[in-house]
């Protein structure tokens, strides 16, 4: 197969907005429009020049079925713009890039807008199954007697809603909450509460520094709501936090003995992100300046109870395929679902037995220093809008590689349900 080069030429995202009770000011498509408009505005080509729009979104709201298409139309990309939505849980935002990458690589497309959008604050309240069944009966009731009988069957707890978000973050196969899977990894890889908290503190400090130094200015675009309020930064950041402060928090998933707390887990946020992918021909035609080239991508799957190790499988797969060692990768974005989970991945790569038996390597993969891992913070400080995060880490990796002149970088994430996704970027010479 004649693989064509595929470039990331630009990208932008909204600030990630912490869910603070109640629906936030933006739906998933609102968020996609907020960062999509200025991104399209700064392109030297017309917005209908794209061949395709792909958007990752997990919690699609009822008013926005196929949010990719709704966003494309609201962005004024023209009625002829084909658009579809992809969903692979926490990997959705990277899945959109990967699909675009493969289409361009194989020659069917030249210019694709690939994104992720998630408004976890809009996750619906779900009725209990018994209540749904009751309603179906009530709706079909004929005549006064049947209706009255149906009404008599109503139970108060029918109205007690189930939080859709809580169900969404629980694996249906193992019935483990995502936080519990992190507890499993902490236990298996001897990750201490102290190590996890220290990692989390560093995440906040790194994001705060990047914000302060203006290194996110091109990437993060101010969003404005209808009341005119401006949202100009990732607002979950806690620059002043410390290990002492985090040590005071109680475990939330496995009380009382667990170690995963709100402080060392990713935050629940709303946010959207887009990346522009172009073929060589599109780069030439429109005079674009690529940020990075996508070289390879891989997806792996494992038992849902240890989903947090997903990155280890897929990233190693890429390295093996490309003949790269751990040290050949100058920059890593490894989505911070949980501090313990990130640290477990690092531990696995240094564990000889794990690397030889599970990954099929001859020796440990190696040590990934913190100075090349999540250099500007991650989901713990930024938040984790599930369908968006995979997009954000690729975008930020491309930007940061460009800024540092790093030759190669990998963005990778664990995926609820027991999967992992990874993408290898290369500097454009």
């Amino acid at each position: 197969m004649n693989a064509r080069p595929v470039y990331i030429v630009d990208g932008a995202r909204t600030p990630f907005l912490k869910v603070r009770g109640g629906p936030g000011p933006f739906t998933p498509v609102d968020l996609a429009v907020q960062c999509g408009r200025p991104l399209l505005l700064r392109q030297p080509f017309a917005r209908d020049a794209f061949d395709l729009v792909i958007l990752g979104c997990v919690n699609v709201i009822a008013d926005e079925m196929n949010p990719a298409r709704v966003a494309a139309l609201r962005l004024g990309m023209g009625e002829a713009m084909v658009a579809f939505t992809v969903q692979i849980n926490c990997g959705s935002g990277m899945q959109s890039i990967d699909t675009a990458y493969r289409y361009i690589r194989d020659g069917s497309h030249d210019l694709i807008l690939a994104g992720g959008a998630e408004a976890l604050s809009h996750a619906p309240l779900v009725l209990r199954q018994e209540a749904v069944e009751w309603y179906a009966e009530f709706a079909q009731a004929k005549g006064a007697v049947e209706t009255a009988r149906a009404v008599a069957d109503i139970r108060p707890d029918f109205l007690k809603p189930v939080f859709g978000l809580e169900r969404g973050l629980t694996d249906p196969i193992t019935d483990l909450n995502m936080g519990q899977t992190a507890e499993v990894l902490a236990h298996r890889f001897n990750i201490t509460r102290e190590a996890a908290d220290a990692y989390a503190v560093e995440s906040h400090h790194r994001l705060a520094r990047a914000q302060q130094e203006g290194r996110l200015d091109d990437e993060v675009i101010t969003a404005f709501d209808r009341d005119g309020q401006a949202y100009d930064h990732d607002d979950g950041v806690r620059p002043e936090t410390s290990t002492e402060a985090l040590a005071k928090l109680s475990p939330v998933f496995e009380k009382p003995y667990g170690q995963v707390t709100p402080g060392n887990a990713s935050q629940i946020t709303d946010g959207a992100s887009w990346v522009v992918l172009a073929s060589e021909a599109a780069v030439e035609e429109h005079g674009l300046t690529p940020l990075a080239r996508i070289v390879d991508s891989a997806w792996s799957a494992l038992d849902p109870s240890v989903m947090g190790l997903g990155p280890v499988l897929c990233a190693t797969e890429i390295a093996r395929r490309q003949g790269l060692s751990c040290d050949d990768i100058g920059l890593w974005e490894l989505n911070e679902a949980f501090a313990a989970q990130v640290l477990a991945c690092l531990a696995a790569w240094e564990d000889e037995a794990f690397c030889t038996r599970v990954l099929g390597l001859d020796a440990p993969f190696g040590r990934i220093d913190r100075d090349r891992l999540n250099v500007d913070g991650g989901a713990i400080s930024l938040g984790h809008p599930v369908g968006t995060s995979g997009n954000r880490i690729v975008l930020h990796l491309a930007n940061e590689m460009c800024r540092r002149g790093t030759a190669r970088g990998i963005a990778t994430e664990c995926i609820g349900g027991g999967q992992g996704g990874a993408m290898l970027l290369e500097e454009v010479s």
């Binding site: 200025p38 962005l75 004024g76 404005f224 009341d227």
Partner: protein
């Protein structure tokens, strides 16, 4: 969106029955279908819009003759024009009906035709799409049933022309729907949109165009479900109850338009109070009253104002070729201009160095959408088109850049230089300055020929006028495109030449300054405002200054004073101090010359009668400035000045505008009066040489 598929499928086809291809006779096409239903299509020759002329009424009469000879099972009346049902009476015809007796005879003829339509034995059905206004609405009301398609709207705008309905509307609407609701529609001229029309009972049913044939069948078969609200209110059949209601209506009308200036609403209220419920008395009363009103000066002038509006609209013709507007500056004016353009379908980028200012402008944009009664989908689309642009990335993509920065030459020059550097060479740069000299702003530009003024008035959403200003080097095609742009966003352009204050502010400033002098002389602000309101201004100069903002008034006055040769009234020192203190700037600060409460000034009830002659102190300086603008060629002619002052400054419409008023009163007399005032109060009243050309 109109892509190839919808282009191919074409516009929505109107259901025209078998009459689609029938021969046109006096504005009507008629044919009978297999069910013995006669389709009568109103299709006036030579226009995209139906208006009801003498010819149309006679044509309808002929059709009714034929129907009488061979009675059908049902009659359907609708328009064959895509644009709508009918826009009302032919204004040219109204203009020609100068003799009250002839007018009355013509009206009786029209009434007779609609009475015959109403009296047909078979069911009659009007199918209305788009606008059914005035006489068009009255034809529909003479039918048994009205079927509306989505987007249909009904109104009696006659009151805006100094008239009331004259072809039976006063009684037919009052009989069809709640009579108080009917009176409100007729007194305000407001339109009842589809849903409201259904709610009020004007329309029997609302259907999609694709179901019109079936709905007509149902209506002809008498199977149309009667969904109209029952007329429960019978109280108004009692004269005493009507008396109370009429008093209330008169009081409410008096707040907007006094009887001596606008007699039509009062004539209608009188008619209703006296005769409601008595069909033949109402009919006779309506005919007589309409004929009298038509002959009145107010109606004549308001009909002329209608023509003035058409004239400005015709100046806005053509394709503006402007898809993307960049607005630099998100202050009150910039923000509202951006919001308005986005609401009207333009893609807009809004820049300001302060992101919070952009945020505030977006908040106001959402509020304007609400004021304009946009649906949630329309609001979403408008706000999606309005793109906050703190980085100024929109400039290279824009076809038109509107600069709404601080009113300062140096600041604007810097802003223009930055914008020009990033703009496409074919794009137009327009400034929203209200008083800075355009020629000086143009000097440092690289492409002065593509630079002009777009002077919007505050509040943008409500003021219909925009001054389109050309300086010496502006390409005429650039002026044309700016005027067409005004048309595209639903504004009326007044094309004027670059001159101090352009036209409207040049004329308005002496008037506002003189009101301050009158205050200085000891008149109360209520008295001063009363003088102007008695003359027919929608509000007095003191209230107007507060609404504009005292800081802006002072800035314009100072800027003008530095640019024109003629002396202006001295700005009183107390006024200057007040502006400098900065916390009493008018409506926007809640306090100015008046104290403001929820957007309205608190006025004391005591309003001394104005003395004769005071009005001349206020109005004559305004007239004089208009004459000067005409002499200097700032405006193209007297009619344009009248139009601009009515639509941009609210000059008493029933007086036809300042130039018209001067002519009616006598230019020689005004010149003498100015000379006398100059002797008494100073040279600011000295008549402009232009008065001599007016004789």
């Amino acid at each position: 969106m109109t892509g190839p598929v919808l282009d191919h499928l074409g516009e929505v086809k109107l259901e025209l029955g078998p009459a689609r291809d029938a021969t046109r006779q006096k504005g009507w096409r008629a044919a009978r279908d297999d069910d013995d239903v006669v389709w009568l299509l109103l299709d006036v020759a030579g226009s995209d819009t139906n208006t009801v002329s003498r010819d149309v009424i006679e044509g309808l009469s002929d059709q009714l003759d034929q129907i009488g000879n061979n009675p059908p099972a049902c009659v359907v009346i609708r328009s064959a024009k895509l644009s709508g049902f009918a826009a009302g009476a032919d204004i040219e015809m109204l203009s020609d009906m100068t003799d009250p007796e002839e007018a009355e005879a013509l009206l009786r003829q029209g009434h007779d035709v609609l009475d015959r339509l109403e009296a047909l034995d078979c069911p009659t059905v009007a199918v209305v799409h788009g606008a059914a206004l005035g006489a068009g609405f009255e034809i529909a009301l003479a039918c048994d049933r009205i079927i509306a398609t989505d987007g249909a709207h009904f109104a009696f705008p006659e009151v805006n022309l100094g008239l009331h309905p004259g072809l039976g509307g006063t009684f037919r609407l009052s009989e069809r729907i709640d009579t108080l609701e009917a009176m409100t529609l007729m007194l305000t001229g407001k339109s009842a949109h589809t849903v409201k029309a259904m709610k009020l009972g004007i329309a029997d049913q609302v259907v999609e165009e694709r179901h019109v044939a079936n709905a007509v069948k149902a209506a002809c078969a008498g199977k149309l479900k009667d969904e109209r609200p029952g007329l429960s209110d019978r109280a108004m059949s009692m004269a005493a109850a009507r008396g109370i209601a009429a008093r209330r209506m008169r009081a409410s009308a008096g707040g907007r338009a006094p009887r001596e200036h606008y007699p039509a609403p009062y004539a209608l209220i009188d008619l209703w109070e006296e005769h409601h419920g008595d069909r033949s008395a109402m009919q006779n009363g309506e005919i007589g009253s309409f004929a009298r009103l038509l002959a009145s000066d107010t109606a004549r002038e308001l009909i002329r104002v209608f023509h003035l509006r058409q004239r400005l609209k015709s100046d806005a013709a053509g394709d503006d070729a402007i898809g993307h507007v960049h607005v630099a500056g998100a202050g009150t004016m910039g923000g509202e201009i951006a919001a308005w353009c986005a609401i009207k379908g333009k893609r807009v980028t809004l820049f300001d160095p302060d992101p919070q200012a952009i945020g505030r402008a977006l908040g106001r944009a959402a509020a304007i959408c609400k004021d304009q009664h946009l649906s949630s989908i329309e609001t979403r689309d408008a706000l999606d088109r309005l793109i906050p642009d703190p980085g100024g990335d929109g400039v290279p993509a824009a076809d038109l850049v509107i600069e709404a920065g601080p009113e300062d030459i140096a600041a604007k020059t810097t802003i223009h230089a930055d914008l020009e550097a990033a703009m496409r060479p074919t794009a137009i740069l327009a400034t929203n300055t209200s008083s800075l000299p355009l020629n000086r702003l143009a000097e440092p530009l690289r492409r002065p020929s593509r630079f002009g003024g777009l002077h919007f008035f505050n509040p943008v959403a409500k003021m219909p006028l925009v001054e389109v200003v050309s300086h010496a080097d502006t390409f005429s095609t650039v002026g044309d495109r700016l005027a067409a742009f005004c048309g595209a966003i639903g504004k009326l352009p007044a094309r004027v030449a670059a001159a101090p204050g352009f036209l409207v502010n040049r004329a308005l400033t002496p008037y506002l300054l003189e009101s301050l002098v009158l205050l200085d002389e000891g008149l109360t602000k209520e008295t001063v405002d009363n003088i102007a309101e008695r003359f027919g201004m929608p509000m007095g100069p003191v209230e107007l200054a507060d609404r504009i903002g005292l800081d802006i008034c002072l800035h314009v006055a100072d800027s003008l004073a530095g640019q024109i040769n003629k002396p202006l009234a001295e700005v009183p020192a107390w006024f200057r101090e007040m502006v400098e203190e900065g916390d009493r700037l008018g409506r926007k600060s809640g306090k100015g010359l008046y104290t403001w409460d929820e957007g309205e000034p608190e006025k004391s009830a005591a309003r001394p009668e104005p003395e004769d002659g005071w009005i001349d102190r206020l109005i004559l300086p305004l007239l004089d400035a208009c004459v000067e603008c005409r002499r200097k060629g700032v405006a193209s002619d007297a009619d344009q000045i009248d139009a601009a002052m009515i639509f941009g400054a609210g000059f008493a419409p029933f007086r036809g505008g300042p130039m018209r008023y001067a002519r009616m009163r006598g230019t020689a007399e005004i010149r003498d009066r100015l000379t006398a005032l100059a002797r008494e109060h100073g040279n600011r009243f000295a008549p402009d040489p232009g008065w001599d050309e007016m004789d």
